[in-house]
Symmetry: C2
Subunit: 230 residues, 2 copies
């Protein structure tokens, strides 16, 4: 019975958790995390579905592994900078890691328990705040306030990239103007700033950094006040 060259090449390399994760990440990059199934990954690897279960206990464990792959490439914290710069640069590094995989933030949100890698990242961030002069209590509040922003994403409620044709978008804008006057006014103002825009026209990176700095400014103010009161 002739096996294909590809299947032979595939089976030469032994199946490992790492190979499974690499295939899963590639598949999610291509088709989205929703169309990720154990059966499809197995097929992609030229392997029977049950073979995966030798290396991952369940689909959940595999999804956690995918999160770790993404979080694992975040830069180590700066060594000789103040807390604000250290946190800021690391958050932006986390953001770059996440942006490489459009499904990543959604996957992290959907997991009910954080992985050891994510907990370790958070532990390191707490250390930066404590060494930066935050009290334990303020550090605690800061971690809650920052939330997923520490991992480089914020929960966007509006999807920015509708793929409707222009004429449909024009009709939609007309109807929106009546039903949602304030949103329409805002969107019109944004578009006015940049005519080449698609979708709602928000600069996600700018908005992320704006919110991040707003948060960091607020925390710095509380830290200074705390130091003064002690």
């Amino acid at each position: 019975m002739a096996t294909t060259i590809e299947a032979e090449a595939r089976s030469r390399e032994p199946l490992t958790k790492e190979r499974i994760l690499r295939a899963a990440v590639a598949l999610a990059d291509e088709d989205g995390v929703d169309s990720l199934s154990m059966r499809r990954i197995a097929q992609e690897l030229g392997v029977v579905p049950m073979a995966l279960y030798k290396h991952v206990a369940s689909k959940d464990e595999m999804l956690d592994g995918m999160v770790d792959v993404v979080v694992g490439v975040i830069d180590a914290p700066l060594e000789d900078a103040d807390w604000r710069t250290t946190i800021r640069e690391r958050v932006l590094s986390a953001r770059r890691a996440l942006l490489r995989h459009p499904w990543a933030s959604r996957l992290i949100e959907s997991r009910t328990a954080p992985t050891p890698t994510v907990i370790g990242y958070m532990d390191s961030m707490i250390g930066i705040l404590l060494r930066g002069g935050f009290s334990i209590d303020l550090t605690h509040h800061a971690m809650h306030a920052m939330g997923s922003r520490l991992l480089g994403f914020s929960q966007e409620l509006f999807d920015d990239t509708p793929d409707d044709p222009p004429e449909i978008q024009a009709i939609a804008r007309q109807q929106m103007a009546e039903a949602y006057p304030n949103i329409s006014e805002m969107v019109a103002a944004i578009r006015h700033d940049d005519e080449t825009v698609v979708g709602l026209g928000c600069d996600d990176q700018f908005e992320f950094e704006f919110a991040l700095d707003l948060m960091l400014d607020g925390l710095e103010r509380l830290r200074e006040r705390e130091g003064g009161a002690e």
Copy 2:
């Protein structure tokens, strides 16, 4: 053929989208949103699965309907208060609505497109900021910065309520102290404040309001600066 009394009582009331949504919300409250299937809802209503599709086009439309049920009970904005109080009270009202349904925030996050009800809510919030003296640009940034906090939730990365028995928790704490020294220190400090605590011991409502106020304070400062510069 004898139908049960319950089935008869059920079938007397005609099937409507509202009845389906009520059943779906009740089922999600009880068993979580993950175990929500069209087939189970149909069963609960004493109806054949396909009967649901006369009233909802798809499962996605039904999930959107569930979001609308929750968002629909958020209080209208105050009439005669300043922007900060108006936003703050409404966000806290949204939070009360969400807390009644543990699955709601996760469901809202997971939807890719917001429902008209959610868009309408956001439109109204934008209006409050604009009338409160925010420029269009600052309003836009503020909406992004607030994100899902406007709907009363923040993305918690740590689940606060582990249901392990105390002895397991003690072992876990021991191991955590070694692997995650900063988290352990923080958790110990929080526990010290309140001995009666379960889980990590975070006061979610306090943390939410802390972050909300941090955000609102920052925005108020930017608004004042903007007014001064014009």
